[in-house]
Point group: C2
Chain length 235, copies 2
Amino acid sequence: MPLQQPSPAVVLLSGGLDSATVLALAAREGYVCHALSLRYGQRHALELERAAAIARQHGAAHHIVLDIDLRRFGGSALTADIPVPKQRTPAAIGRTIPPTYVPARNTVFLSLALAWAETLAAADIFIGVNALDYSGYPDCRPEYIAAFELMANLATKAGTEGEKRLRIHAPLIHMSKADIIRKGAALGVDFALTLSCYDPGPAGAPCRACDACLLRAKGFAEAGLDDPAMGSARP
Amino acid sequence: MPLQQPSPAVVLLSGGLDSATVLALAAREGYVCHALSLRYGQRHALELERAAAIARQHGAAHHIVLDIDLRRFGGSALTADIPVPKQRTPAAIGRTIPPTYVPARNTVFLSLALAWAETLAAADIFIGVNALDYSGYPDCRPEYIAAFELMANLATKAGTEGEKRLRIHAPLIHMSKADIIRKGAALGVDFALTLSCYDPGPAGAPCRACDACLLRAKGFAEAGLDDPAMGSARP
Protein backbone atom coordinates (compact mmCIF):
# COMPACT_ATOMS: atom_id res chain seq x y z
CA MET A 1 0.00 0.00 0.00
CA PRO A 2 1.61 3.28 -1.03
CA LEU A 3 1.91 5.76 1.80
CA GLN A 4 0.54 9.25 1.50
CA GLN A 5 3.13 11.96 1.08
CA PRO A 6 4.61 13.05 3.41
CA SER A 7 5.40 9.81 5.21
CA PRO A 8 4.68 9.16 8.86
CA ALA A 9 7.49 7.99 11.12
CA VAL A 10 7.69 6.92 14.75
CA VAL A 11 10.53 8.57 16.68
CA LEU A 12 11.59 7.30 20.11
CA LEU A 13 12.10 10.36 22.27
CA SER A 14 13.64 10.13 25.73
CA GLY A 15 14.20 13.78 26.53
CA GLY A 16 17.97 13.41 26.15
CA LEU A 17 20.03 15.24 23.56
CA ASP A 18 20.54 12.24 21.26
CA SER A 19 16.85 11.56 20.68
CA ALA A 20 16.10 15.30 20.42
CA THR A 21 18.67 15.50 17.63
CA VAL A 22 17.12 12.48 15.93
CA LEU A 23 13.65 14.05 16.08
CA ALA A 24 15.03 17.26 14.57
CA LEU A 25 16.71 15.21 11.82
CA ALA A 26 13.58 13.21 10.99
CA ALA A 27 11.47 16.38 10.92
CA ARG A 28 14.04 18.07 8.65
CA GLU A 29 13.89 15.07 6.30
CA GLY A 30 10.15 15.68 5.93
CA TYR A 31 8.71 12.89 8.04
CA VAL A 32 5.47 13.49 9.90
CA CYS A 33 6.85 12.60 13.30
CA HIS A 34 4.97 10.57 15.89
CA ALA A 35 7.06 10.82 19.03
CA LEU A 36 6.96 7.99 21.56
CA SER A 37 8.22 8.27 25.12
CA LEU A 38 8.04 5.62 27.79
CA ARG A 39 7.34 6.05 31.48
CA TYR A 40 9.10 2.84 32.45
CA GLY A 41 9.84 3.51 36.09
CA GLN A 42 12.99 5.54 35.51
CA ARG A 43 14.32 7.59 38.45
CA HIS A 44 14.18 10.79 36.44
CA ALA A 45 10.60 11.05 35.12
CA LEU A 46 11.36 14.74 34.63
CA GLU A 47 12.83 13.73 31.27
CA LEU A 48 9.28 13.06 30.08
CA GLU A 49 8.32 16.70 30.58
CA ARG A 50 11.38 17.64 28.59
CA ALA A 51 10.40 15.14 25.89
CA ALA A 52 6.99 16.80 25.59
CA ALA A 53 8.59 20.24 25.20
CA ILE A 54 11.03 18.91 22.60
CA ALA A 55 8.21 17.22 20.67
CA ARG A 56 6.34 20.54 20.55
CA GLN A 57 9.44 22.46 19.54
CA HIS A 58 10.08 20.23 16.56
CA GLY A 59 6.48 20.08 15.41
CA ALA A 60 5.76 16.41 16.16
CA ALA A 61 2.27 15.54 14.88
CA HIS A 62 1.62 13.43 17.95
CA HIS A 63 3.41 12.58 21.20
CA ILE A 64 2.43 9.55 23.26
CA VAL A 65 3.85 8.85 26.70
CA LEU A 66 3.16 5.20 27.36
CA ASP A 67 3.34 3.58 30.80
CA ILE A 68 5.25 0.34 31.15
CA ASP A 69 6.55 -0.39 34.61
CA LEU A 70 9.86 -2.17 34.07
CA ARG A 71 10.49 -1.94 37.83
CA ARG A 72 8.33 -5.04 38.07
CA PHE A 73 11.33 -6.94 36.70
CA GLY A 74 14.02 -4.99 38.63
CA GLY A 75 17.67 -5.37 37.71
CA SER A 76 18.89 -1.86 36.83
CA ALA A 77 20.21 1.19 38.66
CA LEU A 78 17.81 3.26 36.55
CA THR A 79 14.74 1.36 37.74
CA ALA A 80 15.71 -0.41 40.98
CA ASP A 81 17.40 0.60 44.20
CA ILE A 82 20.98 0.20 42.95
CA PRO A 83 23.40 3.18 43.03
CA VAL A 84 24.27 5.00 39.79
CA PRO A 85 28.08 4.81 39.27
CA LYS A 86 29.80 8.18 39.51
CA GLN A 87 33.09 9.71 38.38
CA ARG A 88 34.13 6.80 36.19
CA THR A 89 37.07 7.64 33.93
CA PRO A 90 36.31 8.14 30.22
CA ALA A 91 38.38 5.01 29.50
CA ALA A 92 36.20 2.89 31.81
CA ILE A 93 32.92 4.03 30.26
CA GLY A 94 31.79 1.68 27.52
CA ARG A 95 34.16 -1.14 28.44
CA THR A 96 31.71 -3.20 30.46
CA ILE A 97 27.95 -3.18 30.92
CA PRO A 98 27.23 -0.84 33.86
CA PRO A 99 24.40 -1.17 36.39
CA THR A 100 22.49 1.66 34.66
CA TYR A 101 21.75 -0.79 31.83
CA VAL A 102 18.01 -1.53 31.78
CA PRO A 103 17.57 -5.12 30.59
CA ALA A 104 16.27 -5.24 27.03
CA ARG A 105 15.13 -1.63 27.21
CA ASN A 106 15.77 -0.71 23.60
CA THR A 107 14.10 -3.94 22.48
CA VAL A 108 11.00 -3.12 24.52
CA PHE A 109 11.00 0.47 23.23
CA LEU A 110 11.53 -0.50 19.59
CA SER A 111 8.81 -3.15 19.87
CA LEU A 112 6.35 -0.54 21.06
CA ALA A 113 7.47 1.83 18.31
CA LEU A 114 6.86 -1.04 15.89
CA ALA A 115 3.33 -1.58 17.23
CA TRP A 116 2.52 2.09 16.72
CA ALA A 117 4.22 2.21 13.32
CA GLU A 118 2.13 -0.70 12.12
CA THR A 119 -1.13 0.95 13.13
CA LEU A 120 -0.01 4.18 11.41
CA ALA A 121 1.14 2.30 8.29
CA ALA A 122 4.49 3.95 8.96
CA ALA A 123 7.53 2.19 7.48
CA ASP A 124 10.11 4.26 9.35
CA ILE A 125 11.20 4.16 12.99
CA PHE A 126 13.91 6.42 14.39
CA ILE A 127 16.04 5.76 17.47
CA GLY A 128 18.93 7.78 18.89
CA VAL A 129 21.26 4.95 19.84
CA ASN A 130 24.95 5.53 19.58
CA ALA A 131 27.78 3.01 19.63
CA LEU A 132 30.73 5.36 19.98
CA ASP A 133 30.48 7.65 23.02
CA TYR A 134 28.09 5.40 24.87
CA SER A 135 27.73 3.51 28.09
CA GLY A 136 28.50 0.03 26.76
CA TYR A 137 24.94 -1.26 26.47
CA PRO A 138 24.63 -4.23 24.09
CA ASP A 139 21.41 -2.89 22.57
CA CYS A 140 23.18 0.14 21.10
CA ARG A 141 25.31 -1.79 18.60
CA PRO A 142 24.78 -1.65 14.81
CA GLU A 143 24.42 -5.44 14.56
CA TYR A 144 21.63 -5.31 17.10
CA ILE A 145 19.74 -2.64 15.14
CA ALA A 146 20.14 -4.65 11.92
CA ALA A 147 18.81 -7.79 13.63
CA PHE A 148 15.85 -5.89 15.02
CA GLU A 149 14.99 -4.55 11.56
CA LEU A 150 15.12 -8.05 10.09
CA MET A 151 12.87 -9.39 12.85
CA ALA A 152 10.45 -6.45 12.53
CA ASN A 153 9.88 -7.19 8.86
CA LEU A 154 8.94 -10.77 9.72
CA ALA A 155 6.80 -9.72 12.68
CA THR A 156 4.39 -7.49 10.86
CA LYS A 157 2.16 -7.06 7.86
CA ALA A 158 5.17 -5.37 6.23
CA GLY A 159 6.72 -8.80 5.96
CA THR A 160 3.71 -10.63 4.56
CA GLU A 161 1.82 -8.50 2.10
CA GLY A 162 4.51 -6.99 -0.08
CA GLU A 163 4.18 -3.69 1.72
CA LYS A 164 7.00 -1.21 2.11
CA ARG A 165 9.89 -2.62 4.13
CA LEU A 166 10.16 -1.35 7.67
CA ARG A 167 13.36 0.53 8.37
CA ILE A 168 14.95 1.19 11.74
CA HIS A 169 16.89 4.43 11.40
CA ALA A 170 19.73 4.96 13.87
CA PRO A 171 21.34 8.02 12.31
CA LEU A 172 23.66 8.73 15.27
CA ILE A 173 25.02 5.22 15.62
CA HIS A 174 28.49 5.99 14.25
CA MET A 175 28.72 9.58 15.46
CA SER A 176 30.77 10.87 18.38
CA LYS A 177 28.93 12.82 21.06
CA ALA A 178 30.66 15.97 19.75
CA ASP A 179 29.36 15.26 16.21
CA ILE A 180 25.84 14.73 17.57
CA ILE A 181 26.00 18.03 19.45
CA ARG A 182 27.25 19.87 16.34
CA LYS A 183 24.48 18.26 14.27
CA GLY A 184 21.83 19.08 16.89
CA ALA A 185 23.02 22.66 17.12
CA ALA A 186 22.83 23.00 13.33
CA LEU A 187 19.26 21.66 13.42
CA GLY A 188 18.18 24.13 16.10
CA VAL A 189 17.86 21.68 19.00
CA ASP A 190 17.44 23.58 22.26
CA PHE A 191 19.92 21.68 24.40
CA ALA A 192 18.74 23.55 27.48
CA LEU A 193 15.57 21.45 27.24
CA THR A 194 17.43 18.15 27.04
CA LEU A 195 18.21 16.11 30.12
CA SER A 196 20.96 13.49 29.92
CA CYS A 197 21.78 12.90 33.60
CA TYR A 198 20.99 9.47 35.09
CA ASP A 199 20.55 10.96 38.56
CA PRO A 200 19.41 14.58 38.37
CA GLY A 201 18.27 16.79 41.25
CA PRO A 202 14.54 17.39 41.70
CA ALA A 203 14.57 20.48 39.44
CA GLY A 204 16.59 18.69 36.77
CA ALA A 205 20.05 19.86 37.82
CA PRO A 206 22.54 17.36 36.35
CA CYS A 207 24.77 15.50 38.84
CA ARG A 208 27.85 16.10 36.64
CA ALA A 209 29.32 12.76 37.71
CA CYS A 210 27.33 9.90 36.12
CA ASP A 211 28.43 8.41 32.80
CA ALA A 212 25.79 10.37 30.89
CA CYS A 213 26.91 13.70 32.40
CA LEU A 214 30.57 12.92 31.76
CA LEU A 215 29.96 11.89 28.13
CA ARG A 216 27.84 14.98 27.57
CA ALA A 217 30.46 17.32 29.07
CA LYS A 218 33.19 15.70 26.97
CA GLY A 219 31.00 16.07 23.87
CA PHE A 220 30.31 19.76 24.41
CA ALA A 221 34.00 20.39 25.15
CA GLU A 222 35.08 18.61 21.95
CA ALA A 223 32.43 20.43 19.92
CA GLY A 224 33.70 23.72 21.34
CA LEU A 225 30.21 24.67 22.52
CA ASP A 226 28.79 25.67 25.88
CA ASP A 227 26.14 23.39 27.34
CA PRO A 228 23.16 25.62 28.12
CA ALA A 229 21.82 23.00 30.55
CA MET A 230 24.86 23.40 32.78
CA GLY A 231 24.96 25.96 35.53
CA SER A 232 21.21 26.49 35.72
CA ALA A 233 18.50 24.04 36.71
CA ARG A 234 15.86 24.60 34.06
CA PRO A 235 12.26 24.24 35.21
CA MET B 1 27.91 -17.50 34.24
CA PRO B 2 26.61 -21.03 34.85
CA LEU B 3 23.00 -21.12 35.96
CA GLN B 4 21.99 -22.91 39.12
CA GLN B 5 20.10 -26.15 38.62
CA PRO B 6 17.19 -26.17 37.99
CA SER B 7 17.09 -23.42 35.37
CA PRO B 8 14.68 -20.50 35.42
CA ALA B 9 12.54 -19.82 32.36
CA VAL B 10 10.05 -17.11 31.43
CA VAL B 11 6.76 -18.45 30.03
CA LEU B 12 4.29 -16.16 28.27
CA LEU B 13 0.86 -17.11 29.59
CA SER B 14 -2.32 -15.70 28.06
CA GLY B 15 -4.94 -17.85 29.72
CA GLY B 16 -5.63 -19.70 26.47
CA LEU B 17 -5.11 -23.41 25.96
CA ASP B 18 -1.93 -23.08 23.91
CA SER B 19 0.05 -21.16 26.50
CA ALA B 20 -1.36 -23.33 29.32
CA THR B 21 0.01 -26.37 27.49
CA VAL B 22 3.37 -24.65 27.02
CA LEU B 23 3.57 -23.86 30.75
CA ALA B 24 2.77 -27.47 31.58
CA LEU B 25 5.48 -28.60 29.14
CA ALA B 26 8.14 -26.26 30.53
CA ALA B 27 7.30 -27.29 34.10
CA ARG B 28 7.49 -30.97 33.11
CA GLU B 29 10.91 -30.36 31.57
CA GLY B 30 12.10 -29.12 34.96
CA TYR B 31 12.23 -25.37 34.39
CA VAL B 32 11.44 -23.07 37.28
CA CYS B 33 8.69 -21.18 35.50
CA HIS B 34 8.19 -17.44 35.72
CA ALA B 35 4.86 -16.80 34.04
CA LEU B 36 4.24 -13.44 32.37
CA SER B 37 0.80 -12.18 31.38
CA LEU B 38 0.01 -8.81 29.84
CA ARG B 39 -2.97 -6.59 30.51
CA TYR B 40 -2.72 -4.83 27.17
CA GLY B 41 -6.24 -3.50 26.80
CA GLN B 42 -7.77 -6.72 25.51
CA ARG B 43 -11.57 -6.98 25.51
CA HIS B 44 -11.49 -10.11 27.58
CA ALA B 45 -9.43 -9.29 30.69
CA LEU B 46 -11.08 -12.33 32.25
CA GLU B 47 -8.35 -14.37 30.59
CA LEU B 48 -5.91 -12.88 33.12
CA GLU B 49 -7.82 -14.44 36.02
CA ARG B 50 -7.64 -17.73 34.17
CA ALA B 51 -3.91 -17.21 33.61
CA ALA B 52 -3.40 -16.76 37.36
CA ALA B 53 -5.30 -19.98 38.10
CA ILE B 54 -3.29 -21.86 35.45
CA ALA B 55 0.00 -20.52 36.82
CA ARG B 56 -0.95 -21.77 40.28
CA GLN B 57 -2.06 -25.14 38.95
CA HIS B 58 1.27 -25.78 37.25
CA GLY B 59 3.42 -24.55 40.12
CA ALA B 60 4.85 -21.43 38.51
CA ALA B 61 7.41 -19.88 40.86
CA HIS B 62 6.17 -16.41 40.02
CA HIS B 63 3.39 -14.85 37.95
CA ILE B 64 3.52 -11.21 36.87
CA VAL B 65 0.62 -9.45 35.17
CA LEU B 66 2.12 -6.38 33.55
CA ASP B 67 0.08 -3.42 32.32
CA ILE B 68 0.80 -2.08 28.86
CA ASP B 69 -2.06 -0.23 27.24
CA LEU B 70 -1.79 -1.03 23.54
CA ARG B 71 -5.14 0.71 23.02
CA ARG B 72 -3.11 3.92 22.96
CA PHE B 73 -2.04 2.85 19.45
CA GLY B 74 -5.41 1.37 18.35
CA GLY B 75 -5.64 -0.71 15.22
CA SER B 76 -7.06 -4.08 16.31
CA ALA B 77 -10.46 -5.62 16.97
CA LEU B 78 -9.01 -6.99 20.21
CA THR B 79 -8.06 -3.54 21.52
CA ALA B 80 -10.11 -1.00 19.55
CA ASP B 81 -13.73 -0.57 18.64
CA ILE B 82 -13.67 -2.82 15.57
CA PRO B 83 -15.99 -5.89 15.37
CA VAL B 84 -14.55 -9.39 15.86
CA PRO B 85 -15.25 -11.47 12.70
CA LYS B 86 -17.66 -14.33 13.29
CA GLN B 87 -18.51 -17.62 11.57
CA ARG B 88 -15.64 -17.54 9.10
CA THR B 89 -15.13 -20.84 7.32
CA PRO B 90 -12.14 -22.96 8.35
CA ALA B 91 -10.69 -22.39 4.88
CA ALA B 92 -10.83 -18.61 5.32
CA ILE B 93 -9.11 -18.62 8.70
CA GLY B 94 -5.35 -18.16 8.36
CA ARG B 95 -5.48 -16.98 4.75
CA THR B 96 -5.30 -13.28 5.44
CA ILE B 97 -4.50 -11.17 8.47
CA PRO B 98 -7.81 -10.59 10.30
CA PRO B 99 -8.80 -7.49 12.29
CA THR B 100 -8.18 -9.37 15.56
CA TYR B 101 -4.45 -9.12 14.82
CA VAL B 102 -2.86 -6.82 17.43
CA PRO B 103 0.01 -5.00 15.71
CA ALA B 104 3.38 -6.37 16.84
CA ARG B 105 1.81 -8.01 19.88
CA ASN B 106 4.09 -11.03 20.08
CA THR B 107 7.12 -8.78 19.57
CA VAL B 108 6.04 -6.57 22.46
CA PHE B 109 5.31 -9.63 24.63
CA LEU B 110 8.57 -11.42 23.77
CA SER B 111 10.52 -8.20 24.41
CA LEU B 112 9.04 -7.96 27.88
CA ALA B 113 9.76 -11.65 28.47
CA LEU B 114 13.33 -10.93 27.38
CA ALA B 115 13.62 -8.05 29.86
CA TRP B 116 12.47 -10.30 32.69
CA ALA B 117 14.64 -13.21 31.52
CA GLU B 118 17.71 -11.02 31.56
CA THR B 119 17.12 -9.87 35.13
CA LEU B 120 16.55 -13.50 36.19
CA ALA B 121 19.65 -14.70 34.27
CA ALA B 122 17.22 -17.02 32.50
CA ALA B 123 18.33 -18.25 29.08
CA ASP B 124 14.97 -19.76 28.13
CA ILE B 125 11.73 -18.10 27.04
CA PHE B 126 8.61 -20.08 26.12
CA ILE B 127 5.78 -18.90 23.88
CA GLY B 128 2.71 -20.79 22.67
CA VAL B 129 2.60 -19.58 19.08
CA ASN B 130 1.35 -21.93 16.45
CA ALA B 131 1.67 -21.68 12.68
CA LEU B 132 -0.72 -24.43 11.66
CA ASP B 133 -4.23 -24.01 13.11
CA TYR B 134 -3.85 -20.31 13.65
CA SER B 135 -5.41 -17.02 12.70
CA GLY B 136 -2.85 -15.96 10.09
CA TYR B 137 -0.86 -13.53 12.21
CA PRO B 138 2.64 -12.87 10.81
CA ASP B 139 4.23 -13.02 14.28
CA CYS B 140 3.34 -16.71 14.67
CA ARG B 141 5.65 -17.99 11.92
CA PRO B 142 8.82 -20.03 12.59
CA GLU B 143 11.02 -17.58 10.66
CA TYR B 144 9.76 -14.79 12.88
CA ILE B 145 10.64 -16.71 16.06
CA ALA B 146 14.11 -17.50 14.69
CA ALA B 147 14.70 -13.83 13.85
CA PHE B 148 13.57 -12.77 17.31
CA GLU B 149 15.99 -15.22 18.92
CA LEU B 150 18.87 -13.90 16.83
CA MET B 151 18.00 -10.32 17.76
CA ALA B 152 17.57 -11.21 21.44
CA ASN B 153 21.09 -12.60 21.62
CA LEU B 154 22.48 -9.33 20.24
CA ALA B 155 20.23 -7.21 22.47
CA THR B 156 21.39 -8.52 25.82
CA LYS B 157 24.31 -9.46 27.99
CA ALA B 158 23.85 -12.98 26.63
CA GLY B 159 25.26 -11.71 23.37
CA THR B 160 28.26 -9.89 24.80
CA GLU B 161 29.79 -11.74 27.68
CA GLY B 162 29.98 -15.32 26.51
CA GLU B 163 26.96 -16.23 28.59
CA LYS B 164 24.51 -18.96 27.73
CA ARG B 165 22.66 -18.29 24.48
CA LEU B 166 19.09 -17.17 24.86
CA ARG B 167 16.57 -19.55 23.36
CA ILE B 168 13.02 -18.79 22.32
CA HIS B 169 11.08 -22.03 22.66
CA ALA B 170 7.92 -22.33 20.58
CA PRO B 171 7.16 -26.01 21.13
CA LEU B 172 3.67 -25.86 19.56
CA ILE B 173 4.70 -24.08 16.38
CA HIS B 174 4.35 -27.08 14.08
CA MET B 175 1.50 -28.79 15.95
CA SER B 176 -2.16 -28.92 14.93
CA LYS B 177 -4.72 -27.73 17.45
CA ALA B 178 -5.75 -31.36 17.96
CA ASP B 179 -2.13 -32.33 18.74
CA ILE B 180 -1.85 -29.46 21.22
CA ILE B 181 -5.03 -30.55 22.94
CA ARG B 182 -3.82 -34.16 23.16
CA LYS B 183 -0.46 -32.98 24.54
CA GLY B 184 -2.16 -30.66 27.04
CA ALA B 185 -4.49 -33.43 28.17
CA ALA B 186 -1.52 -35.76 28.69
CA LEU B 187 0.20 -33.09 30.79
CA GLY B 188 -2.86 -32.55 32.98
CA VAL B 189 -3.90 -29.14 31.70
CA ASP B 190 -7.33 -28.23 33.03
CA PHE B 191 -8.93 -26.99 29.81
CA ALA B 192 -11.97 -25.80 31.74
CA LEU B 193 -9.74 -23.02 33.09
CA THR B 194 -8.54 -21.95 29.65
CA LEU B 195 -10.26 -19.21 27.68
CA SER B 196 -9.70 -19.02 23.94
CA CYS B 197 -12.63 -16.87 22.78
CA TYR B 198 -11.90 -13.41 21.34
CA ASP B 199 -15.31 -12.13 22.43
CA PRO B 200 -16.60 -14.01 25.51
CA GLY B 201 -19.64 -13.16 27.58
CA PRO B 202 -19.12 -11.46 30.94
CA ALA B 203 -18.84 -14.78 32.83
CA GLY B 204 -16.43 -16.19 30.26
CA ALA B 205 -18.95 -18.03 28.10
CA PRO B 206 -17.32 -18.52 24.68
CA CYS B 207 -19.11 -16.95 21.67
CA ARG B 208 -18.62 -20.16 19.62
CA ALA B 209 -18.28 -18.12 16.43
CA CYS B 210 -14.97 -16.23 16.42
CA ASP B 211 -11.87 -17.75 14.79
CA ALA B 212 -10.47 -18.83 18.16
CA CYS B 213 -13.69 -20.64 19.15
CA LEU B 214 -13.94 -22.32 15.74
CA LEU B 215 -10.31 -23.48 15.78
CA ARG B 216 -10.71 -24.75 19.34
CA ALA B 217 -13.91 -26.67 18.53
CA LYS B 218 -12.27 -28.22 15.47
CA GLY B 219 -9.23 -29.19 17.57
CA PHE B 220 -11.28 -30.91 20.27
CA ALA B 221 -13.35 -32.69 17.62
CA GLU B 222 -10.22 -33.95 15.83
CA ALA B 223 -8.64 -35.00 19.13
CA GLY B 224 -11.81 -36.91 19.97
CA LEU B 225 -12.14 -35.11 23.30
CA ASP B 226 -14.91 -33.08 24.89
CA ASP B 227 -14.12 -29.45 25.65
CA PRO B 228 -14.91 -28.97 29.35
CA ALA B 229 -15.17 -25.19 28.81
CA MET B 230 -18.13 -25.67 26.48
CA GLY B 231 -21.64 -25.77 27.78
CA SER B 232 -20.90 -24.16 31.10
CA ALA B 233 -19.64 -20.66 31.79
CA ARG B 234 -16.96 -21.31 34.36
CA PRO B 235 -16.58 -18.65 37.04
